[in-house]
Symmetry: C2
Subunit: 299 residues, 2 copies
Amino acid sequence: MFVSKEMHLYQFSQQAAATVKVESGRTVKVETLDAFSNQLKDEHSTFNEINMARVNPATGPIYIESAEPGDTLKVDIHKIELEEEGVMAVAPGLGVLGQQVETFSYKRMKVDEHGVHFSKNIILPLRKMIGVIGVAPSGEPISCGTPGDHGGNMDNTHMTEGATAYFPVAVKGALFALGDVHATMGDGEVCVTGVEIDATVSVTLTVLKKKSTMPWLENEQEIEVISSALTIEEATERAVKEWANILTERTPLTFNEATMLLSASGDLSICQVVNPLKTVRLAMSKALLKQTGLIEFPG
Amino acid sequence: MFVSKEMHLYQFSQQAAATVKVESGRTVKVETLDAFSNQLKDEHSTFNEINMARVNPATGPIYIESAEPGDTLKVDIHKIELEEEGVMAVAPGLGVLGQQVETFSYKRMKVDEHGVHFSKNIILPLRKMIGVIGVAPSGEPISCGTPGDHGGNMDNTHMTEGATAYFPVAVKGALFALGDVHATMGDGEVCVTGVEIDATVSVTLTVLKKKSTMPWLENEQEIEVISSALTIEEATERAVKEWANILTERTPLTFNEATMLLSASGDLSICQVVNPLKTVRLAMSKALLKQTGLIEFPG
């Protein structure tokens, strides 16, 4: 199954018409546009020419048969294949240093198996990841530029090959979409873009008949909850609360012991600090969780 | 040279009397008390009995001859030797979930080469680190519970064996101190304590005749600036600005290119979110910096 990048949207919405319908368990190749919908591929682009309504496209939505509100969508990320050119941009008012940036500028970079050719002397190692990924919310549509409990623009560097993501299904069919692939991005994405690039991503989409309330990610070593809110402080509180409640409900630990365990061994990290809501992840080692008796995905 | 844990202070202060004087380049063994000054070592302690004025002791201050305001103190961390018992505590009002914590509780844990014996079934891997480390500020004294550009309670999990820390010297002799060692702590220290433990730390203290304005840390892979402020957002802005200015001044990169490089390859991480000021680190790979032409400690 293949979904072309021509089939993209700019908001996660229960009203969006499905591009394809798939059975649970199917593997899908999803082709994606870069975060600017290729508007910066023209050598002479200026910031004023960018149509901001066409930023952060996500390919989809994909309707997964049997997905119902209250289920969880499991997304195994197999492979991220990059095109040959990426682009970065900075602009006044955007990113952590937006107030100091005086002029718009962008930079196109060749990308190959050696990495990202940032300049003649500087080659950045590849750190492929998916910026925007998620499902439709049950309420109002949410712009693909914003993260939330439906997923969206979480910009989590762990969202990469070999990882499994989990999203709470809010509408019939889930309406899954992904886009905004980066050839590399640092944790934080401090100046608003990674190396934005067209890509093709293979994922397996599986419906789990169990409830979750926030996005989770699992890789070989860790399980993490992903939390977004207006501030890093609020996002942090939501993440710690979710883990503390799960550990208290599903292991013999008391609430106070669960908080101690999180403080001693949970790693709180920044995903991004530049989108309308900020995103953190709180990760626990799977080897350690096994000792508590918690071995299944804890969403 | 050995400095006993009996010689400790609860604030970094230019007025503090030096416990010892050493030449630049000397290696010192610093013995430290746990973060509660051992007040929780009594089986029947209650939260009300803790004297909060005796929390976060740091051993010192150590006067380094030849250190003058405007210099940088380089601290090579060689070895952290732990005692055999650690303690964690949670209390109403403290930490990210302070409002949900109903009662004070604490837990003493055996610590050995296998790790931290959290409970009969749960052994946490050792992740030794130094919570409080720094020099005296030039102005008012700063409590050891608070981080800042002098160092202090940064709770950075990278502050461990093999790392080198750098602090801006603000007063004659630098007046270096360290304490608050953890047998393990997760990034964030979300519920206010790591596994607090007495320890002995060997460091080499060297005066560099060059200026810096913030704390830095270097390990085998990375160089990072450490930034503290009232919010994570403010701490982030200070860290990104410091790196962007250094890259712009000391490499051929323009300011806009420097911000792109930081966004593509700089990793913004949380040190802690539970002290009076919050702390982040912004790290760049040394292999990548070498390509920009920046090879020396950039403070």
